[in-house]
């Protein structure tokens, strides 16, 4: 038996993800050491790891690299997503620190799983091979399935975790089958070589079927209609800070893989994929917004709202090219700050010892906690897309790219949808400021870490709204080398 030659191992392009995985293991080990009664220090360690990964990412900007036979590519595009994901994860750890303690569910394993899931998202953003895409999605999802059921005593938590797990596994099977068919059609799982193989030969039906299956798998993970059924139940049943992670980080990471494969890689089959994406985008926006109107539970409403926002981002994929992809990246940044902030306010409010999740719990919040109400109001206005907040600029870039690419009708549908969405966001604001508080309305559970997270998110959306140009340039610079 001949000796196996050691493959070249270049860990540089993996550094940010490695820091996160390492921190997860450190958190798990620290969990076994005293002090056993308090878990607060574990959250701090997790936060430090995420900040470290963020710093490593910022240092690597502009000087990425490839590793492991081109399976991992750390270009500016991946780094941009690393920043979004690390920010989201750091804010979520901040939010979790007091929120989980109040619920009695703080544990080292919880923080460890948040970090594992984050590492999965980061690897997914830099994955350049379908096998790595699959493993990264599994690492991300598996941790989220467990985190969704963190509050074991609540029945909805079990329902959320179980539903997310069963449907998620079903979607993974589609993804895997798609990967197998694409491999069968092209003889490789590497993105670069798939693009070459597809460009060389005639249109291959096997490949298109495989790609369709991949779209089903991805569509589930970003909860686009018609694969969105899990989202409301999971968002409602999961701990609010975990919901924020599911809504932001996991979607950003899957969008990263989707754009890298579809918009950047497979431009040759664009006529086929664009028609599909057009329909997906229109359906996702409309269903999300229309169903959101009927919700009285704030977390369910935000679940449908996040489905609608995925629809807006799909508009950017339809527009395609560097402008469309860049707009999606900017929107993801804005959406992440806004959504983490909105869920953050919910995590800080409680009503009679329970989470305040009904819209009417927020009646009169403007009078009793003016600062908190103002914060939630600003986040909601950003979700509507009112200038000068981040959401407005994001939508402007997205819909603008669609119009310039000639998809005027899609842009019209998107704008109409934004108008519909204003109704249910404004209803919350109306409750906060114009309704008399009930006997046991939501009150504030003070938390320094949570307040800090909200402050960062708030600064984020104002900054992105007031001076978007540097960030938009950053997003464009990230996609430009990818799409050439």
């Amino acid at each position: 038996m001949s000796p196996i030659p050691a493959p070249p191992v270049v860990l540089g392009p993996l550094l940010p993800s490695l820091i996160v995985v390492g921190t997860a293991i450190v958190v798990l080990l620290l969990d076994l050491l005293p002090p056993r009664a308090s878990k607060a220090h574990l959250g701090t360690v997790a936060l430090a790891g995420l900040v470290g990964a963020l710093l490593a990412t910022l240092r690597t900007w502009g000087s990425g690299g490839r590793a492991f036979h081109d399976m991992i590519v750390l270009d500016d595009y991946a780094l941009f997503f690393h920043i979004v994901i690390c920010y989201a994860a750091a804010l979520i750890v901040l939010l979790s620190m007091d929120y989980l303690r109040r619920a009695g569910a703080e544990s080292g394993e919880g923080y460890g799983l948040i970090l594992f899931s984050t590492a999965g998202m980061m690897v997914l953003a830099s994955a350049n091979d379908l096998i790595v895409v699959f493993l990264a999605i599994e690492l991300m999802s598996l941790s989220l399935y467990v985190l969704a059921g963190l509050f074991k005593r609540r029945r909805e938590a079990g329902e959320a975790s179980m539903k997310y797990f069963l449907l998620g596994v079903f979607a993974s099977a589609f993804l895997l089958y798609g990967i197998a068919l694409v491999y069968g059609a092209t003889g490789t799982t590497n993105f670069d070589r798939i693009v070459v193989a597809v460009g060389a030969g005639p249109r291959d039906r096997l490949f298109l079927i495989g790609l369709g299956m991949l779209m089903v798998g991805f569509g589930f993970k970003i909860s686009s209609v018609p694969f969105h059924m899990w989202a409301p139940d999971v968002y409602q049943g999961a701990p609010t800070s975990v919901t924020a992670l599911i809504a932001t980080g996991s979607k950003a990471a899957v969008f990263a893989a989707l754009i890298r494969l579809l918009v950047a890689g497979l431009r040759t089959i664009q006529p086929d994929s664009t028609a599909l994406l057009w329909a997906l985008a229109a359906l996702t926006m409309t269903v999300g917004n229309v169903v959101a109107i009927a919700q009285s539970n704030l977390k369910r409403m935000l679940a449908y709202s996040s489905i609608a926002h995925v629809g807006y981002m799909l508009v950017g994929l339809v527009a395609g090219g560097a402008p469309g992809a860049g707009a999606v990246l900017f929107y993801l940044l804005a959406y992440t700050f806004t959504t983490v902030g909105t869920f953050g306010v919910i995590a800080l409010c409680e009503r009679a010892g329970q989470e305040a999740v009904e819209v009417r719990d927020y009646a009169g919040l403007g009078r009793r906690h003016p600062l908190l109400a103002l914060t939630l109001g600003l986040f909601l206005l950003s979700l509507i897309g009112i200038p000068p907040l981040a959401g407005f600029v994001g939508k402007f870039y997205l819909f603008g790219s669609a119009v310039r690419a000639g998809y005027v009708w899609l842009a019209v549908i998107a704008v109409l949808n934004s108008a519909v969405a204003a109704y249910y966001y404004l209803r919350v604001i109306v409750y906060m400021y114009m309704q008399e508080p009930e006997a046991a309305s939501a009150s504030l559970a003070p938390s320094f870490a949570g307040g800090l997270a909200l402050a960062i998110a708030l600064i984020g959306i104002v900054l992105l709204g007031v001076m978007p140009a540097p960030f938009a340039d950053l997003a464009q610079a990230a996609v430009a080398p990818l799409i050439r």
């Binding site: 493959p7 036979h69 399976m71 799983l113 096998i131 493993l135 005593r153």
Partner: protein
Amino acid sequence: MALAAFLLIAAVALVSALGLILKRNAVHGALFLVVNLGSIAALYLMLGAEFLAAAQVIIYAGAIMVLFVFAIMVLIPGKEETGPDPRRSYRLLAAPLGALLLFELAVALAARRGAPGAATAPAGSVEAIGRLLFTDFLFPFELTSVLLLAAMVGVLLLARRRA
């Protein structure tokens, strides 16, 4: 010949998969799953993936199925089996079928003795797969270990008694 074998095995796999989801009795379902996993292993073998086929039989059809059947027996109590066996007459078939199997085994062993051992490792062998895992696919291999660690931590978190 290969096509006919493929069609036959694929049909068995499909029918057993359907049986698995259509049968109400959990034990019958588990047995259909065994047949399904076995036929998938046969398909692997036809593709020249010997190692995968062996792993499929040992791990899935063997170890995991035993766990399944145990879980079904423990969790779903069935009716007591009483009265005479309704399929008593089938027992007469046992002796001739067993003899046939023994004959087949003897023929296979006799043929094996004359054949020379495989000189080179085929593409689907343990060695070839191990080589790939530690060179071209080193990163997915290592990523799997992180995935398993996360899964283990998750199970601990969910299964631990105190909340």
